[in-house]
């Protein structure tokens, strides 16, 4: 056997041995997964039963009414929390229960979380090197409303990891409430849509007084934050931000100006209809801006005031703009038919096709 042949054979043997090792790993992993799943289910069941009795049976859950039962309940639970796995499972259960409970019951869950030293466990995660542990800690502290953790969270907000940064941003808004603007002042990094989605989801569930006044964010130097604030101010119909939005119609960033026009339209700011039209005239060729302006005028405008502007867009280069202009003219009860006759002298039958489309009830 030559050296080449020996090398090839040894390589083959090594590959077979590694493959065998992989097979053993797969089978062991199956066993481990089954055992873990069983243990998880058992512990979860036991914890949930205790929690149910705590939440439903009245005399145990009030420390003032029955301090002994309360202490016994906590001590009993504490004995079950020797491993981090159990602590984490309980935190997950508390969080999922808290999401469906509010007021007094939500407060009691929070009390259990603090008394069982689980807050300290979550806080300790913020100092770990692993980003996912940090994120998990941030979520837990935010969900349980631990405002005293804000300084640590703020430190993470200035960190390098974008995922940790995003999570701490959300946590700060959740915990900082109406005053959270101060915390994110000077933030100059992007605000991805994912953060916006999550923030909106959270803010939709809290009381109005906990929602930040987004008008203050409108003057931020961060374009992403500005855009987000416009969307949120519109979503929560914060009418006090209308003057600021009107000023933003003159923003150098066309996207921001278009978004402001859209928001003014959605919020019914009829007094700014002419300013919106003026913005539209300045950027006739911009498809996205034209769409925002047309839609805003469709909400706010008066037929006689905007007929000319909207009819110009029937010959816009973008098919979507053409369609939107006709749709909004119809909305404002402007008679498109007269205009159609004029336009059809020089064009094909596209306008009639659009007209039939927008008149069809099933396509509305």
């Amino acid at each position: 056997m030559s050296i080449t042949e020996a090398i090839i054979l040894y390589c083959a043997l090594a590959l077979i041995a590694t493959s065998g090792l992989f097979l053993v790993t797969i089978l062991l992993s199956r066993l481990q997964k089954t055992a873990e799943a069983r243990e998880y289910e058992n512990v979860k069941d036991s914890f949930q039963k205790r929690l149910n009795s705590f939440l439903i049976v009245g005399d145990v859950n009030d420390e003032k009414v029955n301090p002994f039962s309360w202490r016994y309940f906590l001590e009993d639970f504490r004995q079950q929390l020797s491993r981090n796995f159990q602590k984490q499972l309980l935190i997950d259960l508390l969080m999922s229960n808290k999401q469906n409970l509010s007021g007094y019951s939500g407060d009691r869950i929070r009390k259990v979380y603090i008394r069982l030293q689980l807050k300290a466990f979550s806080r300790s995660k913020l100092t770990k090197r692993n980003a996912y542990k940090k994120i998990s800690g941030l979520k837990e502290l935010a969900e349980m409303g631990c405002e005293d953790a804000l300084p640590e969270i703020h430190r993470l907000f200035r960190g390098r990891n974008p995922m940790v940064r995003a999570e701490s941003f959300i946590a700060m808004v959740r915990l900082g409430g109406a005053g959270s603007l101060d915390l994110v002042r000077g933030y100059n990094r992007p605000v991805p849509l994912w953060i916006q989605v999550r923030m909106q989801k959270h803010l939709s569930t809290v009381s109005r007084d906990r929602v930040p006044k987004f008008q203050y964010w409108l003057s931020s130097s961060n374009a992403d934050l500005k855009k987000f604030a416009i969307k949120m101010t519109c979503h929560f119909k914060q009418l006090e931000s209308l003057p600021r939005l009107a000023i933003m119609l003159r923003d150098k960033d066309v996207e921001i100006a278009g978004l402001a026009a859209w928001a003014l339209g959605e919020m019914g700011a009829g007094q700014h209809a002419f300013a919106i039209e003026k913005l539209g005239k300045l950027h006739m060729l911009d498809e996205r801006l034209s769409l925002s302006v047309i839609q805003a005028l469709g909400h706010l405008g008066k037929p006689l005031d905007h007929k000319l502007y909207l009819s110009w867009h029937m010959i816009h280069g973008s098919a979507q703009v053409r369609m939107e202009s006709m749709r909004n003219m119809h909305k404002l009860k402007i008679n498109c038919r007269d205009l159609l006759i004029d336009f059809n002298l020089n064009n094909d039958h596209e306008f009639e096709s659009i007209y039939s489309h927008i008149m069809e009830p099933l396509l509305k």
């Binding site: 042949e5 390589c11 083959a12 590694t18 493959s19 992989f22 849509l193 989605v197 489309h357 099933l362």
Partner: protein, 482 residues
């Protein structure tokens, strides 16, 4: 032996050895990167609440486009399944591509459809549309059915893109089974990535032998037929080991035609699906990327390593051979259409790494393998190489192939392993042992045939008719035939 013949043979031997070494190293590197990325994704997915997207007004709208051709047997179940997908701003577009069966009548009856004067923007040129239908029933208000002249899958998808009113388009095969939360997971990279994402794709899995009820996957089972199991293993390997690594390097060139999510504006600007190739899925991704590179726009094509789509695999060798033949022709056509990307730094990772990889190791590999085997047999017969060396070499290749399959199975074990029984693992290991001998050579032969067929000018897909879902009381087990 003359000197010329000797040098020629030595040259060939060195060439084959170098080629084999490079391909082994390339696959090993892809496997390592994929495993690392997979771990990262899984940890990330654990802490991501995808359902936040469901109620958000900021999430982009999606049009789900499903072309249907002679799908009368299963079209109603499939459409119902698509309508039940979780996503708030969703429209479902079914494009009847000139079916010769009663698909259209069935759809009209089942969903109370009426013809509407829909204004179509012909941004991409397509075959004429006969009519657009909407349901009178408000429960199906997000369903649009388009009846058009037959023009092939690519043409039907283009009609869908023209009609779509949403920001993103999900192009799927109507007979595929899509997981209910698939769109939430596919849209997540569009929301979260700092670099604009133009397309995402997910893992496609084989549904043969699985239990299906009302167009929904109820229970996952390993296919009973060995030929389908071979393909199951092949899919696991391709989706878990290859694509994750390409996605990490931002060099992904292919998003499976069975299920992909695209930014509509970019797909339109790139010209939509090409009707001149049988590999339209890969060609669209390449063209969208070419458009972005040409306009110097940063972009990403992202791969989501979760089984989000289940499809039916060919269950006999005749259809399988036809499918592989088509895949080879599609690859070659696409590579040829975008040949200016080849080692072109203007196209970034795609031009410098992905395209050459596809050229040398996807398209060329079956040809090299076929000619290498012929060369080896010749060498043995002419006595230039001893039998023991030949045996050692074949053993090494065989064990490497087995090793890569085992790596894929290991990756699957630590990700979303749908096959829960230990028996299934052993069956897959057995499949991995048999595959290099019983299945792979057939694939190589189909690919070689595909190359010759393309040279002869063959352009057709090869007609596929389906038996549909074999009905059994309450439950359905997916079976297929031609």
């Amino acid at each position: 032996m003359t000197n010329v013949a000797f040098y020629f043979q030595s040259g060939l031997s060195i060439m084959f050895t170098v080629y084999a070494a490079v391909i082994l190293i390339a696959y090993l590197s892809l496997a390592i990167i994929s495993l690392y990325e997979m771990k990262r994704y899984l940890t990330n997915a654990k802490i991501t609440d995808f359902k936040s997207i469901l109620t958000s007004p900021f999430a982009p709208g999606i049009s789900l486009i499903a072309p249907a051709y002679n799908e009368g047997l299963s079209v109603i179940d499939n459409v119902k399944s698509l309508l039940s997908i979780m996503y708030s701003d969703l429209e479902v577009l079914i494009i009847n591509d000139g079916s010769k069966d009663n698909s259209m009548d069935k759809l009209i009856e089942a969903f109370s459809l009426v013809k509407v004067p829909f204004h179509i923007r012909h941004l991409i040129r397509t075959k004429p549309v006969k009519g657009v239908y909407k349901s009178k029933n408000r429960a199906f208000k997000n369903l649009i059915v388009v009846d058009k002249e037959n023009g092939g899958k690519a043409d039907a998808l283009n009609v869908g893109i023209n009609i779509s009113s949403k920001e993103l388009v999900a192009c799927i095969d109507v007979d595929c089974i899509i997981e209910r939360d698939a769109l939430l997971k596919m849209v997540h990279p569009f929301l979260n990535s700092p670099v604009p994402v133009i397309a995402t794709g997910g893992v496609v899995r084989i549904a043969n032998s699985c239990v299906i009820e009302d167009g929904r996957l109820i229970s996952v089972r390993l296919p009973e037929k060995q030929i389908v199991r071979f393909q199951t293993l092949e899919y696991i390997r391709a989706f878990l080991i290859g694509r994750m690594a390409w996605s990490k390097m931002n060099g992904l060139m292919l998003i499976s035609g069975a299920f992909g999510l695209f930014r509509k504006d970019i797909a339109q600007k790139a010209g939509g699906y090409s009707t001149h190739t049988v590999g339209e899925d890969m060609e669209l991704v390449m063209r969208m990327r070419a458009y972005m590179y040409k306009n110097k726009l940063p972009h990403k094509v992202v791969y989501v390593p979760e089984p989000l789509c289940w499809t039916e695999a060919p269950s006999d060798y005749k259809i399988l051979s036809r499918q592989r033949n088509r895949w080879t022709r599609g690859t070659l056509e696409t590579l040829h259409a975008h040949r200016k990307m080849f080692f072109n730094p203007a196209y970034g990772v795609v031009g410098m790494i992905s395209y050459p990889f596809w050229f040398f190791f996807e398209w060329l590999a079956p040809l090299v393998e076929f000619s290498g085997l012929g060369f080896m047999i010749y060498q043995v017969l002419s006595g230039n190489v001893n039998l023991f060396f030949c045996f050692a070499l074949l053993l090494a290749v065989y064990t490497f192939s087995f090793f890569i399959s085992m790596t894929a199975l290991l990756a699957e074990e630590f990700s979303y392993s749908p096959y829960k029984r230990k028996r299934d693992v052993m069956k897959l290991v057995w499949t991995a042992l048999l595959e290099p001998v019983l299945f792979h050579p057939r694939g190589v032969w189909s690919a070689v045939q595909g190359n010759f067929d393309l040279l002869k000018g063959k352009k057709s897909w090869g007609e596929m008719t389906r038996q549909g879902f074999a009905q059994s009381p309450g439950k359905i087990t997916l079976t297929a035939s031609v």
